[in-house]
Symmetry: C2
Subunit: 360 residues, 2 copies
């Protein structure tokens, strides 16, 4: 069976959302490469190839496998299996080690590397962003919130451990993320001892900001408000939700990696723009997948947005225009990477493609 | 009506929990001062006078009023009233500005001062510990947890704003606490720019550690497990709950203040011991108040522990022995302060007395 992917049915053209005059050479080149992508989109899903020149030298599947394994080791080591309180540690480990794709940690590590840092310098942050992501899933899935029973193909935390433990598991994961980033022994000995504390403080500030009333939580609050409403959500409100609920943590993941890698302010801001584009892209693709894929393929309840009459990009713009919007966001993201060493930027380039072309 | 206080009916004697040989001169002096306290315990509640020599020079009521006002200003400024998402900010402000006693911030500021720091250096942390405390109250009050309708004399957050917003308010306050501590512009310009980042990282690590599976959350998990059980909780388990649920954050408040004030490791560890004693003291007194005061006096549901057959110190030890235990803890706490400049230590000394002799 040929896999369907969100951008597969789009025509090759400049998105109407992006004025032609604003398109630089990099974006135009990126746009041309879509034809290549579409011709082989089944393969893309597996390897998420970027432009052909880089694609031949970079095995994205192997890269992601290695990164996920390293992150999983860090996550596994961060929560003791046998120490009390056993119920809490078990629930934390259940939620955290449920086998997510580790996209956020991968972004964090790749951003550290693209500015010239060693990936190990960002590993505590990579683990931290996954802890924050998992916390938001555990709390959003609660009966009083989105009331979801299935997550990553498994029963949700409150289904297995009960509601009180699920609330507390989220709280514990959130605080653990900061503890993990602040602990000196989370970091390898070759960090720059003079500059490191200031970088960690700045990185913790970025992480904290993306969670609360400027990030994840704000997005969830507005999302809940909209879900209860009978009105169609206007596009700017939908974008607010996604920029906060999804893009903010992806942005923080990239920016924190760049900070800990010792990136310059200019590099950090370029990577921030890259991250904002892929953040919104992530959600547009999520919306498209929800209407086009089965629960089994997604590992979570499919068609839920439609069933709950939730406003999504496909509902507001139609499927075709949603795909065009996704293309434009991918193009924007790639443009921000053009100033970096292309070999070092390959993981971020492939991650953008992966987010655009993923199947779940 | 003469107010009752937890230590009022205790006889003056060395607690059986503390071997006489272990009592230093400082502790003996502290013990002698109890007689003074008991003679005027109504006044103590208002002014929480310490040893007579210091008491005459230190107006504890005025001190606490000033500290609370300064902390409330910092908390008020930390959450915008008019910016979206309005529902979230309103709920955060409702929970945070409900007029608590601000004991934890006061401890944080006093610990900063006792090691020679300016209180302003610790103000972001003082605000942060109150945010964390409020978060734990909001989540612990949830219907799926302790199901409390009344807190600080007002309807709890979920009663006013609903359960989903209450969960998210807690999450937002938790992340805000770290954001507030990490933001450079939280701090006054006279901080030591070279040493400050390392101090902030260390302080954030202390704060994060006291929340999750080594602190507040662990205490709440074991507390919930015990509440469901028909067995009487053994003393060591009760102490585990209180050391985690109550003492951990009080300890962090003190330690963080000392770190940001530039305290030496030796000073920090002495203050940590002081904080552990008053942390447990705080809970022992809380248990005593629950069985001896009305809901109106407490500003929260009284007799709840008894009604729910919850294990408390009075239940395990009896009221008299609970008071003796409280005396011993107070004495231990005062002993740790003996090495500091006594004028600078006056607030911490009075705070310990206040925790022992408070009425709600």
């Amino acid at each position: 069976m040929a896999a369907f992917h969100p951008l597969a049915a789009s025509r090759v053209r400049i998105s109407p959302l992006l004025p032609a005059a604003a398109m630089g050479a990099g974006a135009a080149a990126a746009s041309a490469s879509y034809a290549h992508h579409r011709r082989r989109f089944c393969a893309i899903v597996a390897t998420a190839a970027a432009s052909p020149a880089v694609a031949t030298e970079f095995d994205f599947r192997a890269y992601m496998g290695e990164q996920a394994a390293a992150v999983n080791r860090a996550l596994d080591a961060s929560i003791p299996a046998d120490e009390p309180p056993a119920a809490l540690h078990e629930a934390m480990r259940y939620a955290l080690l449920a086998g997510g794709k580790r996209v956020r940690p991968a972004l964090c590590l790749a951003a550290c590397a693209v500015v010239g840092g060693r990936e190990a310098w960002a590993m505590p942050a990579a683990a931290a962003v996954e802890m924050v992501h998992t916390m938001s899933l555990v709390h959003d899935d609660l009966p009083c919130m989105d009331d979801d029973d299935l997550r990553r193909g498994k029963p949700t935390c409150h289904v297995v451990y009960g509601e009180p433990i699920a609330v507390l598991t989220g709280d514990a994961l959130l605080s653990l993320s900061f503890h993990h980033m602040a602990k000196v022994d989370s970091y390898p000995p070759d960090i720059d001892a003079d500059k490191h504390p200031a970088r960690v403080v700045r990185a913790i500030g970025e992480l904290a900001r993306c969670i609360g009333s400027e990030g994840l939580v704000a997005g969830q609050v507005v999302d809940l408000e909209m879900t209860g409403s009978t009105e169609t959500v206007p596009l700017d409100r939908l974008e607010y939700i996604h920029l906060h609920k999804t893009a903010a943590l992806l942005e923080a993941s990239v920016v924190i990696g760049a900070i800990l890698g010792g990136g310059s302010d200019e590099q950090i801001e370029r990577l921030r723009k890259y991250a904002r584009s892929i953040g919104l892209l992530f959600q547009v693709v999520d919306d498209i997948l929800d209407v086009t894929k089965s629960s089994e393929e997604l590992g979570k309840t499919a068609g839920k947005d439609l069933a709950s009459d939730k406003t999504t990009y496909p509902k507001l713009l139609g499927l075709e225009k949603s795909r065009e919007f996704a293309e434009k966001l991918l193009s924007d993201a790639r443009e921000q990477l053009s100033g970096f060493d292309q070999e070092k930027a390959a993981p971020l380039l492939h991650l953008a493609n992966y987010i655009a072309y993923r199947q779940n």
